[in-house]
Symmetry: C2
Subunit: 144 residues, 2 copies
């Protein structure tokens, strides 16, 4: 186990799905887009290259699992994957299902409009679907 | 060898650095940002998850090498890594050195302002530095 505290901005903007082998898996609380955030659960990381080689490979597996789950549930027109971190420096990877009909298309989603939080009765259903999808793809998801 | 034709828009916007084990490595011809584009050299790919598991891992290694080279040469404030593809559907990964002083900061670079092509006498120097940096990190770079 590595020491890990989730960045306060990420904590404020997301709902916790669970802990994967490497990453804290989060659902961005913005119902405009199916949008996962993966945060390698080790303090002090800013860049992908701050991870050692094994952890980089594990990050790729977890990014791919997140992509596969969003594709299976939402059948998006495109997946967007990005590690930017210009505002929140704690290393985190966005995995976003994009649609030609979404409000930001074809631009990136960051900085466009205002987040619309999920209605509470919807968030739980969506989070369960995503966690089940991750587990169905062999990804271990622990509570945290 | 897999059949591969580089997307015409990527071809128009970039300078060719060389062929890595998986990806065609390109320098975006925009002197505002040190900006590499990695294109897995196989036709028919749109998403990272269109790659098989071994190729996903190789993509991570090549992304990391690109990050390390830009960090070593430019000492940026942040690296941005992204696979979006909303406009150009051929799978490609952006690796961009970002600076607090750059014109888009802290927003993503995509869609901000107009590209400023490198002066021809600068492009060759920069491309040589990047290729040497990749090879110094054990990455095979072939001409193409």
């Amino acid at each position: 186990m590595y020491p890990f505290t989730l960045d306060s901005q990420l904590q404020a903007d997301t709902l916790v799905l669970g802990q994967l082998p490497l990453c804290r898996a989060l659902l961005l609380d913005d119902s405009r887009y199916p949008w996962l955030v993966l945060v390698p659960a080790r303090d002090g990381l800013t860049e992908i290259i701050d991870l050692d080689s094994d952890a980089r490979v594990q990050l790729m597996h977890e990014m791919a699992a997140a992509c596969e789950v969003l594709k299976a549930i939402y059948n998006p027109d495109k997946l967007n994957v990005g590690a930017l971190g210009n505002r929140v420096r704690q290393l985190h990877v966005h995995v976003i299902a994009r649609f030609v009909s979404d409000e930001a298309w074809p631009q990136p989603v960051w900085g466009v409009g205002q987040a619309r939080p999920y209605p509470p009765h919807m968030a739980g259903v969506i989070m369960d679907q995503i966690c089940e999808g991750l587990m169905a793809r062999g990804m271990k998801v622990s509570e945290c």
